[in-house]
């Protein structure tokens, strides 16, 4: 049974919407601390996670989203909203489907032969998997930052200018210069690279490369930024840099970040979604999820019992 919430500290759980909903649903409250049995997962009906899956006026709204790679189902009936001007962290053990979830949101899974997505995902109320949706246009509205810094084998300037150029976002060279400047500045990289915009991006340090990739994504003027373990290849100082950056970007963008570090999720996000074996187990305010997880599996993960 996956919808089995753990025993919650009654005054906290009772005070939250989720807690009330759960009690009203008449679900069993059992003592926590049992060793979890993975086999029991598949018995549950997918689609309803513990916690607060929906928000008012969401950017993304995912309903019963499943993803198959060939015959293998990597995501099982995930229903979740992504709020505006907020960071949503996706956590969970390796292979649980975090990246798969992220890659649904900009249809990056389309590039994988044999991948299939079911359910509905809307961006600002529009179905992004509808036949009429232009995939390139969709992706242009969504910035993506990957695990390993992966600048193009071009100059720093050309990396940032890549998106604006293919989408013809600027009319003149001065406009383009301006956009490159603001993007690099927003990514906190301008001061470090302003004297060598023409040199190859590969020459930058790992942390600088990752911020360059963020600048490259910002240059397309996206509404949402997706980040897949953006700091896992970075040292602690570079990581702190990127986390500060995320904190600043949150003012203007919706951000979904996949991370294997619970500390990072706690530091940078306002909402946290816990995935396990392709299912969304629990989602809610980060503070609440970390201090008072309602599902036993979430608690097991957060307290380090496994994962």
């Amino acid at each position: 049974m996956i919808h089995e919430p753990r025993r919650a500290d009654s005054n906290v759980a009772g005070g939250s919407d989720a807690g009330r909903r759960l009690s009203e649903g008449g679900l069993n409250l059992k003592p926590s601390g049992r060793v979890h049995v993975p086999d029991s997962l598949d018995a549950g009906s997918p689609g309803r996670a513990v916690g607060e899956a929906s928000v008012a006026d969401p950017v993304f709204s995912c309903r019963d989203v499943s993803v198959f790679y060939g015959a293998k189902q990597a995501l099982k009936g995930v229903t979740i909203d992504v709020a505006r001007r907020q960071v949503l962290a996706a956590i969970g053990p390796s292979g649980c489907g975090k990246s798969t979830f992220l890659r649904c949101l900009n249809r990056m899974n389309d590039t994988i032969p044999g991948a299939r997505v079911t359910g509905t995902i809307t961006l600002d109320g529009r179905d992004i998997y509808s036949k009429r949706q232009d995939v390139a246009q969709l992706r242009a509205r969504i910035g993506m930052v990957f695990q390993k810094p992966n600048p193009f084998p071009k100059s720093i300037y050309d990396n940032v200018a890549y998106g604006p150029r293919i989408h013809k976002l600027t009319r003149s060279r001065t406009d383009l210069d301006e956009l490159v400047f603001t993007s690099l500045a927003r990514a906190g990289l301008w001061d470090e690279v302003k004297d060598r915009l023409g040199s190859l991006a590969i020459g930058l340090s790992g942390g600088q490369q990752q911020r360059l990739c963020i600048a490259r994504a910002l240059a397309v003027q996206p509404e949402v930024i997706l980040m897949d373990e953006p700091c896992s290849a970075l040292d602690p100082i570079a990581t702190a840099h990127v986390e500060d950056l995320i904190e600043q970007l949150r003012a203007s963008y919706a951000i979904v970040i996949v991370t294997h570090s619970m500390q990072q999720a706690a530091r940078v996000s306002q909402r946290t979604a816990y995935f396990y074996m392709g299912q969304l187990i629990e989602v809610g305010d980060t503070d609440r999820v970390f201090t008072n997880p309602q599902h036993r599996l979430t608690e097991d993960y957060i307290t380090g019992r496994f994962g």
């Binding site: 990056m108 390139a136 992706r139 242009a140 993506m144 990957f146 390993k148 890549y162 998106g163 293919i166």
Partner: protein
Amino acid sequence: MSSAEAFARHLAGQRLRERIFRASTLAAAILLLLLLGGVVVSLLHGAWPAFDRFRLAFITQDVWNPVTNRYGALSAIYGTVVTSVLAMILALPVSFGIAVFLTELAPPWLKRPVGVAIELLAAIPSIIFGIWGLFVLAPVLQESVEPWIDGHLGKLPLVGALFQGAPYGIGFLTAGIVLAIMIIPFISAVIRDVFDTVPDVLKESGYGLGATTWEVIWKVVVPYSRSGMIGGIMLGLGRALGETMAVTFVIGNAHQISASLLAPGTTISAAIANEFTEATTPLYTSSLIALGVLLFVITFAVIAAARLMLLRLGRRGLASV
């Protein structure tokens, strides 16, 4: 005999076998170098009388006259270059398309059959291409394609001269087409392999910025794999330059330089293959060997350049993993 002694003898035997094994592989490697050296030396030795007699004129003069015993390789060099360049121009876009299709667009179930078909095409002996070129392609070109080219493209300003003339069916154009078909498998296989070295995550960054497949290929994949692509193209060029049998069938074997692609001509390798049995005088034979030296030098330079390019790609590929 104690067991320790037996073990010591066993070890000694093992060492001996190992030494023999090493020595024989070294010998094989040295043999290869000796053979290569031998080929170069005997080529130069055989070509010496011709080079000594004609000096630079051997490569600057357009005469090939067994009656007066005067030989200049210019027409053969010209034919070699023209047919190879023509083949490259025809083969490149097709190979590029095949490689793009195979790496980016083909559904998985189609990838293998197309890949295998390309390898099969590469396995067809060149004489088959020659026969096909002469008996199937040449008549078609002569009856329908070349008259059209002459009538339409021949009237163009500046480049018109390339397309004028009587339709023989055999000549530079036919040789170029046959060569193109022969090198397409090579070039597309190399380009495909080079494209495969582009990290997925780099392509995904392109897609993630909203690039179309075309934009990802043109602005991410091609720049990343440029030197590898040039290497592959040069390998194909090396093959086209040296190809003998198929070209001999369809080039027309005329020692002449003409502006028109429809005219017959000859190439270095076709001339050698055609005329070696007829070479009656020592100078004639020596001139043909000298042609061989020229081809050796040209092909060696092209292939060395190609290897260098691929090497550079390999190094960068490793560095970026």
